[in-house]
C-alpha cells in the first residue's frame, strides 16, 4: 500500500508534463531570440535554438524550461552584460556557445548565472571569454556536466571558471576549465561532488575551497595552475585519486592545506610539483596510498599541524621527502615506501629493520639558511646526510617511519 502511494506521488512529480510544447528559435524567423522564446513559453516547454549567432544581453530564464542548442548556437553578450541568468528551478541548458560577458570590478558578471534555484542542469556548453564562467549563488541540487570553459587569461579581467557561493549538493562532472582566476571556486559550498574534471593553466588555483565542508573531489587533474589546489578553513574534505602535475614556482603547491580538519587524502598522484603538499594548522588529516614522484618537496608539514597520519605512500625521486619549520608533534609515518631508504630487511618480511627518518639533516639546514640550497647534491651534503642517517643526532627523533617498505606499493 505504501509503495503504491509512493508511486502515485512519483507520477505527480514527473518533470515534463505530456502537454508540453516545443518552441523553435532560428535567425530571421518570428522567434529570432531566446528572450522572445522564453516570453512565449510556459513551464515545462522545450526551446530548441537552431545554429546561428544571437546577441544575449542577460537573457533571464524564469520558467521551468528545457533549452537545447542545435549544432552549438552562439549566445554573445558583446562585453555589455551577463549572457544568461537562470532564476527558475527545473531548467536544463544544453549545447550552447556562450561568450563575451562584461568584465569590471564592481560586479561579478558571468556567462551563466544561477541564482537561488534548485534542480538545474547545465551541460555540454562551451564558454569563451567570460569574466566568470558559471556562477552559482545560493543553489541546491545542480548538475554542471561536460562544459568547456576558457577565460581571457588576463589577471585583471578574470573571474573564476566555475564559482559556487552558498551552495549545497552540487555535482560537477567532466568539465574542462582553463585561463580563469580559479578554475573551480567553492565558498560556503557543502556536500558537493567534483569528479573527472580537468583544470589547467588557471592564474591562481585549479580548485579552491573556502569555508566549504563535507565535499569530495576525485579523479580530477590539476595541471600547471598558479598553485594547484588550495583547501582553506574547511572540514571533512575527501581528496581521492586526483592528479596534481607540474605546479611549479615559488610559493606554488600541488595542494595547499590551511586550517583544515578531518580530511582524507587518498590515492592521489603528485608529479613534478615544487611542493606536493603544504600543510599549515591542519589537524587529523590521513594521507594514504598516494604517489609522490619527482617533486622538489614531497611534503612540507609545518609545526602547527597535529595528529596527522601518513601511511602506505610511495615517495620516489623527490629532492626532499618531508620538511618542517619546527618541532613536529603527533605526526605519524608508517608503512611508507621511501626510495632514499638504505636499510636492510634481514627477516624478509617486506619492511626494513631500522626506521627511516624522512627529514634529512640537509633539509633542516636549508630551513635555517635557505642560501645553502646552493650546495645541493654536493659531496659534502651527501656526506653529512649519510653520517646523520647512520648516527642520528640533530634530526627530530619523533619523526620516523618505524616500518619502511622495501618495495613500492603497487596500485
Amino acid at each position: 500500500m505504501r509503495s503504491l502511494i509512493v508511486k502515485i506521488g512519483l507520477l505527480f512529480m514527473l518533470p515534463v508534463p505530456v502537454w508540453a510544447h516545443t518552441i523553435i528559435v532560428a535567425p530571421g524567423t518570428k522567434v529570432a531570440t531566446l528572450k522572445q522564446a522564453v516570453t512565449l513559453a510556459k513551464n515545462g516547454d522545450t526551446i530548441r535554438v537552431e545554429k546561428g549567432t544571437y546577441i544575449s544581453l542577460n537573457t533571464i530564464v524564469d520558467k521551468e524550461l528545457t533549452i537545447l542548442g542545435q549544432n552549438q548556437p552562439v549566445l554573445d553578450a558583446r562585453f555589455q552584460e551577463e549572457v544568461l541568468t537562470i532564476t527558475s528551478g527545473h531548467v536544463k541548458l544544453d549545447g550552447f556557445i556562450i561568450k563575451n560577458s562584461k568584465t569590471g570590478s564592481m560586479r561579478d558578471f558571468a556567462g551563466i548565472r544561477l541564482s537561488n534555484v534548485e534542480f538545474v542542469t547545465i551541460s555540454n556548453n562551451t564558454l569563451i571569454n567570460n569574466f566568470f564562467g558559471i556562477y552559482l549563488s545560493n543553489c541546491k541540487h545542480i548538475q554542471v556536466l561536460h562544459n568547456h570553459i576558457t577565460g581571457s587569461n588576463n589577471i585583471e579581467n578574470s573571474g573564476n571558471g566555475i564559482h559556487l557561493w552558498k551552495c549545497k549538493e552540487i555535482l560537477l562532472n567532466e568539465n574542462y576549465v582553463t585561463r580563469h582566476r580559479d578554475g573551480i571556486y567553492f565558498e560556503f559550498a557543502k556536500k558537493c561532488l567534483i569528479e573527472n574534471n580537468f583544470s589547467e593553466k588557471n592564474i591562481r588555483y585549479g580548485l579552491h575551497f573556502m569555508f566549504s565542508d563535507d565535499d569530495t573531489y576525485r579523479h580530477n587533474t590539476f595541471k600547471n595552475n598558479g598553485s594547484g589546489v588550495s583547501v582553506m578553513y574547511t572540514r571533512r574534505i575527501a581528496m581521492l585519486d586526483n592528479t596534481f602535475i607540474e605546479n611549479w614556482g615559488s610559493s606554488i603547491y600541488g595542494v595547499l592545506l590551511k586550517e583544515i580538519t578531518d580530511a582524507r587524502i587518498e590515492g592521489n598522484h603528485f608529479i613534478r610539483n615544487t611542493t606536493g603538499i603544504y600543510m599549515e594548522n591542519s589537524d587529523r588529516i590521513t594521507v594514504t596510498h598516494n604517489d609522490f614522484v619527482s617533486n622538489g618537496w614531497a611534503m612540507r608539514v609545518l609545526a602547527s599541524c597535529n595528529k596527522d597520519h601518513f601511511t602506505q605512500n610511495n615517495y620516489k625521486g623527490n629532492s626532499f621527502d618531508v620538511t618542517t619549520n619546527g618541532t613536529l608533534k603527533e605526526i605519524y609515518f608508517n608503512d611508507n615506501y621511501w626510495d632514499k631508504y638504505e636499510g636492510y630487511d634481514l627477516n624478509k618480511d617486506g619492511t626494513g629493520d631500522i626506521p627511516y627518518r624522512p627529514i634529512s639533516l640537509y633539509a633542516q639546514i636549508i630551513e635555517q639558511n635557505p642560501q645553502s640550497v646552493m650546495l645541493m647534491r654536493s659531496f659534502i651534503v651527501n656526506l653529512i646526510d649519510k653520517v646523520e642517517r647512520a648516527i642520528p643526532s640533530i634530526t627530530p627523533e619523533s619523526v620516523k617511519d618505524e616500518k619502511p617498505r622495501m618495495k613500492p606499493w603497487k596500485k
Partner: protein, 146 residues
C-alpha cells in the same frame, strides 16, 4: 664597458633592495603574508611596511588585520605604514589610518571578511548595499578584530 654596465646594474639591484617605501604588488605572483593565497584582486589588496622597511603584502584588509593581531608590536608602532586600496579607485594605495572600511555582505573580499576601504566616510556610506552594513575607521577595525 660591458663589465661596467653589469656592475652598475648589480649596484642598482642592491640599492633598490634597501629603499624604504611601498613595493608594488605583482598581482597573480605575490602571495599573501597571512593566508598564503596568491594576491589577485586589486580592489582588496593591502600592504604593510614596518619601521625597519620590511614589506608584507596581503590579499585583503582582513588578512592585514589578522596579521597585526598576531604581531601587536608592528600594529602599535607609529612608524609602521599601512596601505590599502581605495575600492572606488583600485590600484591606488592610500593610508589605512585615514581610510574608512565598509563591512557589507555584498562585498566578497578574498578571505570572507567582506571588507573594502574608502577614502572618506561618505564614500563608504554611499557604497552600502546591505542594511546591516557597518563602517569602521582603522582603529575600530583593529579593535573589532581582537
Amino acid at each position: 664597458m660591458k663589465r661596467l654596465n653589469i656592475i652598475t646594474m648589480l649596484l642598482c639591484c642592491l640599492l633598490t633592495a634597501c629603499s624604504h617605501g611601498p613595493d608594488p604588488i605583482r598581482y597573480g605572483k605575490d602571495a599573501c603574508a597571512h593566508c598564503k593565497m596568491t594576491i589577485m584582486d586589486k580592489r582588496f589588496a593591502a600592504e604593510l611596511i614596518t619601521a625597519k622597511g620590511k614589506v608584507f603584502k596581503f590579499d585583503a584588509a582582513e588578512c592585514m588585520a589578522g596579521f597585526l593581531k598576531e604581531n601587536p608590536t608592528i600594529a602599535g608602532d607609529a612608524k609602521s605604514v599601512f596601505l590599502v586600496n581605495d575600492f572606488t579607485n583600485p590600484g591606488q594605495f592610500t593610508d589605512a589610518r585615514k581610510s574608512f572600511f565598509l563591512r557589507d555582505s555584498s562585498l566578497s573580499s578574498p578571505m570572507g571578511g567582506n571588507l573594502a576601504a574608502f577614502l572618506s566616510r561618505q564614500a563608504a556610506e554611499a557604497a552600502k548595499k546591505d542594511k546591516s552594513a557597518q563602517v569602521y575607521d582603522w582603529s575600530l577595525l583593529l579593535s573589532k578584530n581582537k
